[in-house]
């Protein structure tokens, strides 16, 4: 494709390139050009489909008005909704969002950071993947404006937006205790990511506080790369033996949906035979015959906060780091039975 240049437009209009430049790229100098000529130049630019060169504009303003977003897995509706929210909020601020999905893969994450930075984004919003500490530290060292969302690394001082994972898990498990469940299992991910660790800690502390069996034997972790198989195995282990679990707390919506498919296939009825709670909402959990009690993450607030903090960092490089922790709520539905 051949890009239309200011010179092409100047030739067509029979004026100097400088004049075209005044009209199309430099608002302050536009007044120097007669109204009729300006109109003609704009019409020709439109006809030739002139694309203002963002990079040139960026060099002048120091900004490209574009945000890069890296989510962990775009096929997961949780991240699809985060992306949508961030896009809406960015649009309100006249920013465009271009994004990529790291698919929980640290190499892809590194590629995407490089590609987006080389595409002159003004800053990044990232849901960091496991093992990406070095990438995040490097962004910091390079003074790239960025904000982490959903996840963060406690050892790296950086702005982030997160929810109260520990308290939310503690509260969810306590609800299961209150509804009379005695053997509460948890299915989480096998990961070093802090937010999942906090959910596990909330689960264990809640059991401890209620003098229940130590959570360690009933806490199962699935590998992201072997999700379906590991979840089936976890559920088999939880539901077998002389004292099977009477409740399961799932650490994310993906785990819950995969788990409920398997539980359905076993013919186990919810909540009569098994109570279920999960983190995250999902249409699948709304439509389920026993709508699933869930920890609601305020995606809208999270997305808005991320855009606000990032734009402040872009505008003022010396801005202080912000740690924003947003409260979740427990939405109680049929899947736990009633008290």
């Amino acid at each position: 494709m051949k890009k239309v240049s200011l010179k092409d437009i100047a030739t067509e209009a029979g004026v100097s390139t400088a004049l075209v430049s005044y009209v199309l790229t430099n608002k302050e100098k536009e007044a120097r050009v007669g109204e009729e000529i300006a109109k003609k130049i704009r019409a020709i630019a439109h006809k030739l489909n002139y694309q203002p060169n963002h990079i040139a504009r960026s060099l002048k303003s120091g900004r490209s008005f574009t945000i890069g977003l890296i989510v962990a897995d775009i096929s997961n509706p949780f991240f699809g909704n985060i992306a949508r929210t961030i896009e809406d909020e960015a649009k309100r601020n006249n920013y465009t969002v271009i994004f990529g999905s790291s698919d929980e893969n640290v190499d892809k994450s590194g590629d995407l950071i490089n590609v987006l930075l080389n595409r002159q984004v003004d800053g990044l919003i990232i849901t960091p993947t496991e093992g990406s500490e070095e990438q995040i530290s490097q962004l910091k060292a390079q003074k790239v404006p960025f904000v982490l969302i959903d996840r963060f690394f406690p050892e790296i001082e950086a702005s982030h937006i997160a929810v109260n994972n520990y308290e939310a898990a503690y509260h969810a498990v306590s609800h299961l205790v209150k509804t009379g469940r005695k053997r509460i299992g948890m299915v989480a991910y096998k990961t070093s990511l802090h937010h999942i660790g906090e959910r596990k800690r909330g689960y264990k502390e809640a059991l401890l506080a209620h003098h229940m069996t130590s959570g360690n034997t009933l806490l199962k972790s699935a590998r992201y790369s072997h999700l379906a198989a590991d979840i089936r195995l976890s559920i088999d282990q939880l539901l077998s033996g002389r004292h099977p679990a009477d409740a399961i707390f799932f650490a994310t919506n993906s785990l819950a949906i995969e788990g409920l498919k398997y539980i359905n296939s076993l013919g186990i009825r919810i909540p009569d035979q098994l109570a279920v709670i999960t983190f995250d909402e999902s249409e699948a959990l709304d439509l389920f015959y026993s709508p699933v009690t869930f920890v609601r993450q305020p995606i809208l607030e999270m997305g808005r906060a991320a855009v606000r903090v990032l734009l402040e960092e872009i505008k003022d490089n010396k801005k202080e780091i912000e740690h924003i922790c947003i409260d979740t709520s427990l939405v109680i539905r049929k899947s736990c039975g009633s008290r």
Copy 2:
């Protein structure tokens, strides 16, 4: 953020910028540099986190090895899965994908096309939004390599990947007839987009072929911008009166999920009181108490075909336009009852 330049590295290494350039950007000339020096240069580049300038590389190779993808709504899992598939396939070909979501909004679509082209993508994969004909024609005029996926405009000659919408709808409705349903309604979108038009046509022709009531009175269309309200109204109309519908064919998964939520709230049982079929699969429809019969779109094949056709266009500008129509399949489950 200050970008590390070849000169910065040269200064630190105590060598000429040309030497650094040979090592970092010009494989053919790298042999001219002693191995020890080359190693030192690479170590310093790594330490300073030098980012190769994709734009400069692109000028040399004529390519940026980046694909731009514009989906219609990233919060819809159908597009999330398309994005994921395209990304996996692009990765296999050493391309990175950056994407944006037009949210079914023609202005956003135009913005995104400009932003992505200005970011030097080698080509675009687009699910075009209603009213974007001019944008697509302009891409053609500019000779930008691009492929449309899921949707296309019959009046614009351009490469596209689509499914057999007419036949799939015809087949789905015929299945409802075969299972004994007498009054089959359809809930679709109010849109001029061709693929939805084809699904409506398939529905109407199937009714005609089976000598059933003309589909026009039982064919309802919801506005994208008022989805929930319009779907409720459509279903109320279909289920009211002396001869209520005994089956509904939903034109997409979003329509089906929203519709089933409302049908649930009315206490209507599926399939006993109402049979349901939809286009598109979804975890919500899998987990539903009466798993929903659906038209499976082969997302993996669609994504792979889109990447293949686009990369061929990028490599060979004179390549002929390809129209790829992939067959769907009807996955029969409980929601239609049995024959």
